[in-house]
């Protein structure tokens, strides 16, 4: 789909999660990566946000992996924000 600013804002809101660990990672991602995503990447991001928090955290933590190759680039960015200095 084509994402309007309102659609993007919806995804921004849906990046608010029930777990602080995810909020921290998504906050960095939204600040640095989100605006540069293509519509196709936003489709993938939207799908990723549908996952339950616990499963999403395990994916972002690298404790589990996915066979869905589409998710890989976004997941790599999210994982990147896990390992940069937060201070």
């Amino acid at each position: 789909m084509t994402y309007t600013q309102a659609d993007k804002n919806r995804l921004r809101w849906r990046s608010r999660r029930g777990l602080l660990e995810l909020d921290i990672v998504f906050e960095m991602f939204l600040e640095h990566d989100f605006e540069g995503l293509t519509d196709a990447e936003l489709d993938v991001y939207q799908d990723l946000l549908m996952l339950p928090d616990i499963d999403l955290l395990e994916l972002v933590d690298g404790k589990t992996d996915t066979t869905d190759a589409r998710l890989a680039p976004i997941l790599a960015r999210l994982r990147h924000w896990q390992v940069v200095k937060q201070q």
Partner: protein, 589 residues
């Protein structure tokens, strides 16, 4: 109210965590038209973060009794908990947990097939004699399992979910009765009036008033803010549970086992400051003592980092082998959330807020109770609260581990039952809405839209968080808290003039964050003023100038009225429902 759409329900519930969904299930299964509003998808509520378990004296692994659970809870509360509510919760716990099992919650089991129970700090047998295994868990996903189980049952029971709706204000009529809420639909930006026979708040805690908090970003105390604006007092807001070592700037916890393995705390000068405060126990002094020393180092200007706002947890002297073998997950957390490898560098840490003991004053039936005409507890007709946003009060001055999930299901159900009775017997038809029921909320939004010369929301929020962290954190003394009262009043004035650049209507996250700050600031002011006023040390409120618990003068609940910035007090309930009162004792462990 010409421009505001109106919808009618029997019951409106704000919040879709464990408490809100447990109450909703009760109401929907009774055939009542029930709406649940949630800022986020229900299974993404903060209940998901609860890992430890849910306590109940099932006695599946070791002999246990609800009376022992009650004793542990009263002691944990440092005798500020209401003993009728505590008895109700502990006595109801086994049936509440078995009910969850019957709903399909995947608890861990023992070989016979019964629910497994694990040990947990503070859980004892025979009134404090020895540890007992009382915590029921679904692996480390207990909160997740609870939310999913309750959500599915609610879908089956036809509960109507309003997902990505934010409640704005409570609607009270001329009699003070609650007849509904106003709410913002994020997808359209429209404000609605939701007209109800009964309203329940289950909006969770407000841990985000602190700079260092384990709470998710959604925990902005929306229910508490709405109460404050509607003239409902907030109870015992000075009591917040802290953990000594959260990663600074992140809030993620570092287990205390790290200090057991030989980790030490340093200030900015590289001094092992715990040697000064506790020459014998040093870094292994009790949790609350260590927390206060850490806060004192920061307060006196010996904090580390560019903002001098944390201390350092040093592990590298233990060597890579010990760290990799005994503390692998700690190394992982430090790398991810502090950006430091503890094999080489110390971890920045700070005492971190975890749980809010106070909240909306209720009784054990979930009814909201306020002082009126000299009576300390008069029911607000049509208004209920449950979960972390409510103060029943079962946690008193400090919460016992695994009692939080129990609180959600016991009082969620109890409030649901009370609402069913109220609707059936006292409010079979809707009470009329007051004229212009949405005007107050619309004016708040209009103020935000038209504000000029104000400050950005995140600037004011950070000022609030910094003030509360420094002045109402673990280290509390008269001088510091008096400063806090003055400072938070200034921040509250700034919060009245927040400004947003984005004026769009649809999915305007800036507007939502501004509205959340309106709620946070009410909680922050209540916390600061209630903490400053309590001249004793009890549970999580540790006052350096009044180091002892003072039952004679202070065994009472605080009630803060935000509009008049006024404190009132009410007695602790000392009459349990059926058993003898548990009299106060010195709290030693």
């Amino acid at each position: 109210m010409a421009n505001v759409a109106k919808r009618q329900f029997d019951a409106v519930i704000v919040g879709a965590g464990g408490a809100g969904m447990r109450a909703a299930l009760q109401l929907s299964e009774a055939g009542l038209k029930t709406a649940v509003l949630s800022k986020v998808f229900p299974t993404r509520s903060h209940t998901v973060a609860a890992q430890g378990g849910i306590s109940a004296s099932l006695g599946n692994v070791q002999e246990d009794k609800w009376e022992w659970h009650m004793y542990d809870t009263v002691k944990g509360s440092d005798w500020l908990g209401d003993q009728d509510a505590i008895e109700f919760m502990c006595k109801t716990a086994p049936e509440a947990v078995i009910e969850l099992e019957h709903f399909g919650m995947p608890f861990d089991r023992v070989e016979s097939g019964r629910i497994y129970q694990r040990p947990f700090g503070g859980h004892t047998a025979n009134f404090g004699e020895k540890p007992v295994q009382r915590a029921c868990a679904a692996a480390d996903r207990t909160g997740h399992a609870l939310l999913h189980t309750l959500y599915q049952r609610n879908v089956r029971a036809n509960t109507q979910f309003f997902v990505e709706w934010m409640a704005l204000d409570l609607i009270r009529d001329a009699d003070g009765d609650v007849v509904g809420v106003t709410a913002l639909e994020m997808e359209t930006g429209e404000v609605y009036v939701l007209h109800a026979k009964a309203v329940l708040f289950a909006t969770g805690g407000a841990g985000r008033i602190y700079a260092a908090s384990t709470n998710a970003f959604i925990n902005t105390g929306d229910g508490l803010g709405m109460c404050a604006r509607a003239g409902i007092p907030l109870e015992d807001m000075e009591f917040w549970q802290f953990h000594p070592t959260g990663v600074a700037g992140a809030g993620v916890l570092i287990t205390e086992g790290v200090r057991g393995e030989g980790g030490i705390l340093l200030n900015a000068n590289g001094e092992r400051f715990m040697e000064r405060y506790a020459p014998t126990l040093k870094d292994l002094a009790p949790r609350d003592f260590v927390s206060r020393c850490m806060a004192l180092e920061v307060l006196e200007g010996r904090g580390a980092g560019k903002n001098k706002d944390h201390v350092l947890l040093k592990l590298d002297h233990l060597g890579p082998e010990v760290i990799n073998h005994r503390l692998p997950s700690i190394r992982e957390i430090a790398i991810k959330f502090a950006g430091v490898d503890p094999i080489k560098e110390p971890i920045p840490v700070i005492p971190t807020t975890h749980y809010q003991m106070g909240g909306i004053p209720t009784n054990y039936l979930g009814e909201v109770m306020v002082p009126k005409d000299g009576n300390p507890e008069v029911r607000v007709n049509g208004f209920y609260a449950a979960g972390e946003c409510a103060c029943a009060s079962v946690h008193g001055a400090n919460r016992l581990g695994t009692n939080s999930l129990l609180d959600l299901v016991v009082f969620g159900k109890s409030a649901g039952d009370s609402m069913i009775e109220f609707i059936k017997n006292e409010r079979p038809t809707h009470k009329p809405l007051p004229e212009n029921a949405a005007d107050f909320s619309l004016a708040r939004i209009a103020r935000l839209e038209n504000q000029t010369g104000g400050e950005e929301v995140n600037v004011v929020r950070e000022a609030m968080q910094k003030t509360i962290q420094l002045r109402a954190g673990v280290f509390r003394n008269s001088e510091n808290m008096a400063l806090g009262v003055k400072e938070i009043a200034e921040v509250a004035e700034r919060a009245k003039r927040t400004q947003i650049k984005d004026k769009s209507k649809v999915w305007n996250t800036a507007r939502i964050e501004a509205l959340e700050l309106d709620n946070l600031i009410e909680v922050a002011v209540a916390t600061m003023i209630a903490a400053d006023a309590r001249k004793e040390s009890r549970g999580a409120h540790s006052h350096d100038d009044f180091e002892k618990r003072d039952d004679e003068n202070w065994m009472k609940h605080s009630l803060f009225f935000n509009q008049e910035r006024r404190l009132d007090y009410k007695p602790v309930h000392t009459k349990p429902l059926t058993v003898d009162y548990i009299p106060p004792k010195e709290r030693t462990f």
